[in-house]
Symmetry: D2
Subunit: 362 residues, 4 copies
Amino acid sequence: MAGNTFGEIFRLTTFGESHGSAMGGVVDGMPAGIWVDTARVQEALDRRKPGQGALTTARKESDTVEFLSGFHPQADAQGRRQTLGTPIGFVIRNTDAHSKDYDALANTYRPSHADYTYEAKYGLRDHRGGGRSSARETVCRVVGGALAQALLPADLHIHAFVQRMAGVGIPEAAQFDVAKAFLHPTGCPHPETAEKMEAALLALKDAGDTAGGVIRCHVAGVPAGWGEPVFDKLHARLGYALLGINAAKGVEFGSGFAGSDSTGSQQNDAFTGVGQTATNHSGGIQGGISNGMPLEFSVAFKPIASIRQAQQTVTREGDSTTLEITGRHDPAVLPRALPIVEAMTALVLADFYLAQRHQLNA
Amino acid sequence: MAGNTFGEIFRLTTFGESHGSAMGGVVDGMPAGIWVDTARVQEALDRRKPGQGALTTARKESDTVEFLSGFHPQADAQGRRQTLGTPIGFVIRNTDAHSKDYDALANTYRPSHADYTYEAKYGLRDHRGGGRSSARETVCRVVGGALAQALLPADLHIHAFVQRMAGVGIPEAAQFDVAKAFLHPTGCPHPETAEKMEAALLALKDAGDTAGGVIRCHVAGVPAGWGEPVFDKLHARLGYALLGINAAKGVEFGSGFAGSDSTGSQQNDAFTGVGQTATNHSGGIQGGISNGMPLEFSVAFKPIASIRQAQQTVTREGDSTTLEITGRHDPAVLPRALPIVEAMTALVLADFYLAQRHQLNA
Amino acid sequence: MAGNTFGEIFRLTTFGESHGSAMGGVVDGMPAGIWVDTARVQEALDRRKPGQGALTTARKESDTVEFLSGFHPQADAQGRRQTLGTPIGFVIRNTDAHSKDYDALANTYRPSHADYTYEAKYGLRDHRGGGRSSARETVCRVVGGALAQALLPADLHIHAFVQRMAGVGIPEAAQFDVAKAFLHPTGCPHPETAEKMEAALLALKDAGDTAGGVIRCHVAGVPAGWGEPVFDKLHARLGYALLGINAAKGVEFGSGFAGSDSTGSQQNDAFTGVGQTATNHSGGIQGGISNGMPLEFSVAFKPIASIRQAQQTVTREGDSTTLEITGRHDPAVLPRALPIVEAMTALVLADFYLAQRHQLNA
Amino acid sequence: MAGNTFGEIFRLTTFGESHGSAMGGVVDGMPAGIWVDTARVQEALDRRKPGQGALTTARKESDTVEFLSGFHPQADAQGRRQTLGTPIGFVIRNTDAHSKDYDALANTYRPSHADYTYEAKYGLRDHRGGGRSSARETVCRVVGGALAQALLPADLHIHAFVQRMAGVGIPEAAQFDVAKAFLHPTGCPHPETAEKMEAALLALKDAGDTAGGVIRCHVAGVPAGWGEPVFDKLHARLGYALLGINAAKGVEFGSGFAGSDSTGSQQNDAFTGVGQTATNHSGGIQGGISNGMPLEFSVAFKPIASIRQAQQTVTREGDSTTLEITGRHDPAVLPRALPIVEAMTALVLADFYLAQRHQLNA
């Protein structure tokens, strides 16, 4: 219940505060004999890394993952190593934490941050950085997600992309390749929209303001039958995973909120074959169980709370004060959140993939 | 992982198929010495009961809950009984299941139902009713939720209401009392909107069609400090709980999807006191932890899939066929889903209420 | 943590107090498509049933289990029904509870019973019967265990027998058939010893006293590879399961306590083939994982605390008093505990059987 | 179920193979604001450390624990730091692993080791050292246990000692101080017995043989009310914890196996006051719940399987062969197992200590 472990069978436990010495975690439940290319784990981390352009924080972290256990010592010709079935421990050192930046915050609550709620919960708080509520914690999720991907079937592909940011969205009729989100710093795979987004985001940044937006995720290759019919519906577990990402404030599956304004005759997905439907308003899930069509879902992210404008707030004693946040912050969380959305999706799917083996009674 | 238990400390396990002999469950983790008025549990069930008007299915169930354990035999003057700290077992008999209505469906997959996904998952299926994917299962959640409410602080109030249905929504500026949702069969507490909704819904019903909509929920009295900062964020657990309700396709907190189009300077909730903010765009949650302001969130429900119109589908052998669903079905799930939204919310909050006791290190 | 659920993948949740209206439970995680002969579940219950002779309590319960969910309605020619993959709910009504017998106990703590510890834990207590600490609760475990047995491989055989009771034990060199425990009311499969045991037990009963003893369990047909190497060692999970049985005070595997006085050269089990050893001092488990040899373990049961002799005790106010327990009680728990030992063993094995499917990476 | 996490509320997750680069773990569920003296954690590790005399393996590890998260940066005058309520990650580097010693074992199964069962389970194995089945893993349990001790009430004292080893046991009537186990390399607090044990152990060592024995544990200061009445009985959880220690083959509580030969009139613990009994045959637990008397229990350890004598075994291909184990090994596991018994006990008690807070309904 302390909530630092995710998953039931394939389990990721994470630790580490933003301004402590290291982040790290343990993946438990990885079966033995899975070939893992650790270079690909590092690639996933690199896509999340800060300090890569005007759209992200200037904090520089090498974000190099060190694996401490779980792999057979012998690598194959491609440098891949086999899992031993034992827990995979890993550590990522924090190297560029500017704790001094936070000294002014020791006695003041930043609006829409977790400063106050942390103190209300724990009675004390390390005011340097956001502790566990910092997005820095997600570096461990990316490692866990990359390991989950290594377990999942090779033809299962997870692609998240920025659909909407700073008020600019991909037009509904637009054609684009979901796999190309990482080619543009915005994370938007539709080049024309990406440029408008970037301009809008930089304008906000210049004004000391920040943006929110929507990430859409598309998963191909999930076979029919994953998920459970009651509390552990596939989309309920995905929603749980995605709402656990920093700044996420909403999630929807298939037609989602828009579909709730429609009618049954418009929304129903007519079968054209066993496991094939003419439309995919259901987003690949019916009754909480995958139906063989691609999974489709969106995550809404609020604008980052660390703005470079004067804000009204109170001190711990309740006195009114004005706060100006300095430090290094992203103007929007979305581009760097893409690998995190993919990671959390992979973690959920790995769990259901293994759970479905319980049903093999041939 | 089989997913029929909800919660970590305060746990509800449910069983029962729509057309079997009974529904039932077990609540484990209820502390000893809590006074429970079982008449109020029955009231909650009655609000969810079918057969109460033109807007709900004609299936008639008395939905009388029988408690089998967990209470001290002696009642007080108000008829309340004390919990023993032992698991509370309960049963609700199924009495009006029309299994014959489903005979035509044995070999055909209903569009946007769980028929196909069930078979893909389990390899076999009882075609009478929806089994565990039927909304009938939620009767047990209402019992569990009512017990959770008995545990929660007396000044914590959960109010769900229909905000939007059949394309008709409460205007943004409208004033209304969230506690009055149950006065109208639509579940909408704004009388003018409720009448328009009802008309729109009956028109769809006449056309053999069905509606979706959005339920909003408002929770007053949650103290600051509930929830966990990483995977078990308060809204992540709520999202998990709410997306596990039948036909739910989306969930959002505070400003949600709309807020993602806004900016940080507009969205941030300025502090006006310790635990008080000028606005509540955060929906009462910051960094996954309650901040003392009311919780605010919405759930999107898709239109019910059982329409009384001819639909294209396939048989288990993959042959194209046309399906006409008879049987008794609601034109919209929302009015009867209100007590379920409240129940799932109560279950999540009971868990965090007890979890927060771990932090009492005075 | 409230501790009324056993198992991780194959899970049994139980409810019911000794003198309430019913006992019952839910089995979750049973895969779909398993053929279950419910008559065999009832057989297992009948072997545990009280009122069957001079060696057991006179309380008479029909102990008829009613299954409420989880099975396909159609039975095959042998009367077997297939599981649906949904939770199996069941109820067993209490019919012969003599609550009046307990009135004298409302204000007094019975020595070596759970009366005092219950009050210390919960702050209140239903003094009629032992509540959840009564052996009556185990009726639900027998149902769960019988369902687990239906899932386990057909050639996996679990046989518990009374090895020692009332100070009388089977001689070390004796030959006997472990499958014949149920032919004698003592539960001892060695006829000569069984008669001595019975005589010793009846002598104690006549003196108003009670006996303890040791149950040995032998499991054939467990393949190599079940269990986990660290916390969830096969014998650690078995020990947990067995020590949860009423009156159990110890458990040992293979040579157990006697083996701890031996040396490595004497205790090591030399391999005679892959998965075959010359001796079985390890009791079929090495490093927490089954090795393909039969599992062998013992459970020590203390003498029943309800003796028909005057005992010194105190009231709730701390005043000294003398207590004479009336009511109906067994002179020894062991004969009726045999099916419970077998049930708990089956529950543990079902869990590891399903868990091992996670490793199938062919 | 992969079994590398222990506990429900206070949870320890461990990772690391005997011959990998590091051992480590995460403690989750530690409340905020607990003052921890990390020097005392290191002391506990030092008591378990190898290379401290003729009675333990010559493997030399500094066993220095590095804490990576979970503590407030500011220490008090005594060097203690406060927990943040966040997970505590830690790492202990492996520095003296002689992997070469194991090359001869790549293709051969050591008798009564986990070599064969590992392969049967996982399909592959890192033959260097025992992987996760090595006692090296327990270094992480000692860290977790020391943190649990910091949480537990200050007047709760856990003392394990070697009661019997190499066939030599403390006489029943002997008087000794349980707190003095660590003054002698055998771990036996009765000086006269300790010397006989040491002599017997060294004689076995000279003969290339190994010893087993029994550790007794005494816990003072557990208040009445900890534990759960059904599956999670206090002794069932303790048994689970203790049987998860390497080489443990049995566990008993209070009078244990000996008590099972006794009668109810002899075994019952007469009350002399509320929460006080004349005897303690129950070992401080009745009905699975602590009764306020000291906890008393024993753990049986088999002799270490790594003997320096020729042994019969088979290769992976099933061919008979003779094996001579070299490498560095303890002649008995017991002296170094004392801090592990204490650690596992502390982990179980920390869990129940926090769980009991759920019952505070004042």
